[in-house]
């Protein structure tokens, strides 16, 4: 946490709440993970969990591709197909891209801003456990053969109980509401962390772009997820208790659902893509050995996208019949959002211009991100034009579009980020050879699958159909797309092989394998428990880079800020000194885990806790109870209260060592 000074000593508050379980102390094994509040471990948990769901979502996609590869196929029945595409969309959005981004937030934000943890470490753990339980709850529906089947957008009244009487959509509304709590808690945490816990000297204009994009994303999460929560509560009470929000027989308006859902749903799109943009903005400068081109424009464009994202939601509804005036307004706002997006793309290219580009796997993924995201952006402008969209809405053209944005964009960037930060997180390298093959096959497979889908859409193939007739002329194209899908799956397999292979080989990475620019590269790999022995003093953007290359400072500031240039203070340290300090810090850590920590002038980290997982379990049991029986709700509430009270009475740090 922060640097602390010994303050006026306080006698500990007497604990009136009975401590049923002792304060966790184990440093290894499963209990250390369950009770961890370390942002890096939580980041790892997020990464592993969401990668698992990535595989599940991918298998769902492959099953659909098998079904669609030939006309009039009967391999998968329509009910199953509906469940597959509903869960594929829901999984990829809520259980893969969002939590994978959260894994990066957790791992990197404290490291990039020079902090020792996030602002609320236990809340952070709570976010993860709620996410885990929520995702298990949602997917539990598969086991009882009743997965959600109303689409990831759950359009009323098709999702209403009269037209969808099975339990699937109940799993969906309750599961997503549980996940929403996790996202909001994490969003709040990162807002506070980024605003309040930056190292001395790191003004907002010196923050790494990834941190900036995380901040914008967190604000979007905190403001957009409640809107989804509202929509889900409305549908939930309709389905479970017979209210009328979306009951057309009582006058409930289906268009209202769409407004509420997309008012959440469009900011959600930026929640998915902005972290990816942040990742790419970190990778490109490192492998071009140049500062990011147009930092302030890039940041401003990111903020502008986050802001404008609130005024474009109705472009998902151009065929709903909102009237020409509303459609014109939303067409213009949607086209306008292409401008900041374009700025970002040009700035990324500008970053490469004049650089010294090294084609590492991470860089190749980042470059592919720009290339693929550009295609998705261009087809996006085609949808923004309402008359053109009338032929594209709800066809495979749209499927192709958003996969170019979300796979070609978000997932490519995330893979780039994995290759980029893997050495930092684990201390050893991923194989670059396998990595480049992984990249190449993924890029080819991806384009083979989704480029033809543009054509399918223009050829009149609607989305969400489980089959099509032979004479429609769609069969060969679908077959190609399916082949591409399997190629993509193979590339993911290669990635997993790479992970296993590299874990065996363990080629040490060193602290700074890529000649990095930001603070995370200034510490050891993997970073020590407490991150920074000494909280750094930040003087510049890309502070670590200029610490390594002080001769470049004058050149960097030459054109704009020549007057303000101040010599780097003595606070900076060179690598050797850092290494020494690391050793010193490790000694500290030993001490820290011993029995003395009170009033120590050095490092003060929050203790581990079981309560986050208890609270999360309670919340999920309550959710399950809403679908089943009141006693379950009561049990869940008791568990939840136990977690809440235990949490409240448990200080962040035990003032005196536990005597157990």
């Amino acid at each position: 946490m922060q640097t602390t000074h010994p303050g006026p000593s306080r006698e500990p508050i007497s604990l009136s709440f009975p401590r049923i379980i002792p304060r966790p102390k184990s440093e290894y094994g499963i209990w250390s993970w369950i009770s961890t509040v370390d942002h890096k471990r939580i980041g790892t948990l997020y990464a592993v969990t969401s990668f698992f769901w990535f595989l599940v979502g991918g298998i769902e996609a492959l099953l659909m591709r098998v079904q669609l590869s030939q006309a009039d196929s009967t391999l998968i029945d329509p009910e199953m197909f509906n469940q597959l595409f509903t869960m594929h969309g829901t999984t990829m959005v809520f259980l893969v891209v969002m939590p994978l981004s959260a894994a990066f937030f957790n791992w990197l934000i404290p490291l990039q801003i020079g902090a020792r943890d996030v602002a609320f470490p236990r809340l952070n753990a709570l976010s993860f456990w709620i996410f885990l339980f929520g995702s298990l709850f949602l997917n539990f529906s598969w086991l009882i053969g009743d997965a959600p089947n109303g689409g990831w957008f759950g359009y009323a009244p098709n999702s209403h109980v009269a037209f969808n009487p099975t339990n699937g959509m109940n799993f969906w509304v309750i599961g997503l509401n549980i996940l929403g709590v996790a996202s909001i808690a994490a969003g709040l945490n990162f807002i506070v962390t980024i605003l309040n816990m930056r190292a001395p000297g790191m003004s907002l204009t010196k923050m790494p772009v990834f941190t900036w994009m995380t901040f914008v994303t967190s604000v979007l999460i905190v403001l957009a997820l409640p809107v989804l929560t509202v929509a889900l509560i409305q549908l939930q009470v309709d389905r479970l208790y017979g209210t009328h929000f979306y009951n057309t027989a009582a006058g409930g308006d289906p268009v209202l659902w769409q407004h509420v859902f997309w008012l959440f749903g469009h900011p959600e799109v930026y929640i998915l893509i902005l972290p990816a943009m942040g990742i790419v903005s970190e990778i490109l400068p490192v492998f071009s050995r140049k500062p990011l081109f147009g930092y302030s424009f890039l940041v401003f464009a990111g903020v502008a996208i986050g802001f404008m994202g609130w005024f474009v939601w109705s472009h998902h509804m151009f065929t709903v019949g909102l009237g020409p005036a509303a459609n014109s307004a939303f067409a213009i706002s949607t086209m306008a959002i292409a401008i900041p997006t374009g700025i970002k793309i040009f700035n990324w290219i500008g970053t490469m211009w004049g650089g010294s580009i090294r084609f590492s796997t991470a860089m190749l993924f980042a470059i592919s991100f720009i290339a693929m995201f550009t295609i998705g952006g261009l087809s996006g402008v085609m949808h923004a034009s309402v008359p053109s969209d009338a032929q594209q809405q709800d066809t495979y053209f749209v499927v192709a579009h958003f996969h170019y944005v979300l796979f070609g964009g978000a997932i490519m960037a995330i893979f780039g980020g994995i290759y980029f930060w893997w050495p930092k997180a684990t201390g050893y390298m991923l194989s670059e050879k396998l990595g480049i093959i992984n990249w190449l096959i993924m890029l080819i497979g991806f384009n083979l699958q989704f480029a033809p889908q543009h054509w399918l859409g223009l050829d009149g193939m609607p989305r969400r159909i489980f089959t099509y007739a032979e004479n429609m002329g769609w069969e060969n194209t679908n077959m190609i797309a399916s082949a591409g899908g399997f190629l993509m799956a193979f590339s993911v397999l290669l990635f997993m092989i790479n992970v296993v292979y590299s874990a065996r080989k363990r080629v040490p990475a060193g602290d700074d394998p890529w000649d990095g620019r930001t603070l995370e590269w200034s510490i050891s790999s993997p970073p020590p428990h407490y991150n920074f022995e000494k909280i750094p003093n930040v003087e510049h953007r890309d502070d670590f880079w200029f610490t390594k290359h002080p001769e470049l400072i004058a050149e960097y500031y030459h054109d704009e800020h020549s007057g303000e240039l101040t010599a780097p203070s003595g606070a900076q340290f060179d690598e050797d000194a850092a290494d020494e300090e690391d050793e010193h810090a490790e000694a500290h850590a030993e001490e820290h885990h011993g029995d003395d920590e009170h009033g120590h002038g050095g490092i003060h980290l929050p203790d581990m806790s079981y309560y986050p997982i208890i609270l999360a379990a309670g919340l999920t049991i309550v959710g399950a109870g809403l679908m089943t029986a009141v006693p379950v709700i009561i049990i869940g509430t008791i568990v939840l209260l136990w977690g809440l009270l235990g949490w409240s009475f448990e200080p962040v740090n035990d003032p005196v060592p536990d005597s157990h």
Partner: protein, 218 residues
């Protein structure tokens, strides 16, 4: 600009000096961000209510059953609780424990009175035939005011917790921040009620159904 050059030093609840980039405590910043989130939550429900105004197909309609005078009283009670909250925080911050405790429990009592009014109103509406399943008005009214009531209930429980903390001495001037963020929450819930009161009771008190709908009670 301090944030650009260094950090603000503030004291945390344990009296330790900590550095933050904004000079606000983490907890306060968290609460403000959460309230921003909650604005979107209530905003969406209030918007839903407004969209469905005058669109119930059967009665009772707002014109049939809304009782402005009674609700005005409960609104006044809730407003007074905000005043009590201000006093409670001020006394705790000054270290005047007993007065602080008194005012914290005043907030609790006033909040509870507001909730009793709500229980009465829900019961009464149920008796004259308006439930969440009756019509769009019933659905939107009960869910919106019910969720607000849930927020008030949570606030009351939180303040009871803090009130006992004040008695035992674990809530004191140096960690008055804990009461301050509860206060922020409480004032917010109060303001939300002002909006709900305006939208449901004042603006739509004369609402009936659309043309052709079943007549209401009057």
């Amino acid at each position: 600009m301090a944030a650009a050059t260094g950090t603000y030093e503030i004291k945390n609840e344990h009296g330790e000096v900590i550095n933050t980039s904004t000079g606000l405590s983490n907890k306060k910043l968290l609460m403000w961000s959460f309230l921003g989130s909650d604005v979107m939550f209530f905003g969406s429900f209030i918007a839903t209510y407004l969209v469905y105004r005058n669109r119930s197909l059967v009665g009772p309609y707002p014109a049939d059953i809304l009782d402005i005078p009674i609700t005005s009283v409960s609104t006044f009670v809730l407003l007074m609780s905000s005043l009590a909250m201000v006093l409670a925080l001020s006394y705790i911050q000054q270290g005047r424990q007993k007065m602080g405790t008194f005012w914290i429990f005043s907030v609790v009592v006033l909040g509870a009175i507001f909730l009793l009014f709500q229980v009465y109103e829900f019961n009464h509406f149920g008796q004259v035939g308006l439930t969440p399943r009756t019509n769009l008005f019933g659905t939107t009214f009960f869910i919106l005011t019910g969720l607000h009531g849930a927020h008030v209930t949570l606030g009351v429980l939180w303040l009871i917790f803090l009130g006992f903390g004040s008695i035992k001495g674990s809530l004191r001037a140096d960690n008055a921040i804990d009461l301050e963020i509860a206060g922020l929450y409480w004032h917010f819930v109060d303001i939300v009620w002002i909006v709900i009161f305006t939208v449901i009771y004042l603006i739509s008190a004369r609402d009936v159904g659309p043309p052709g709908s079943v007549p209401g009670l009057h």
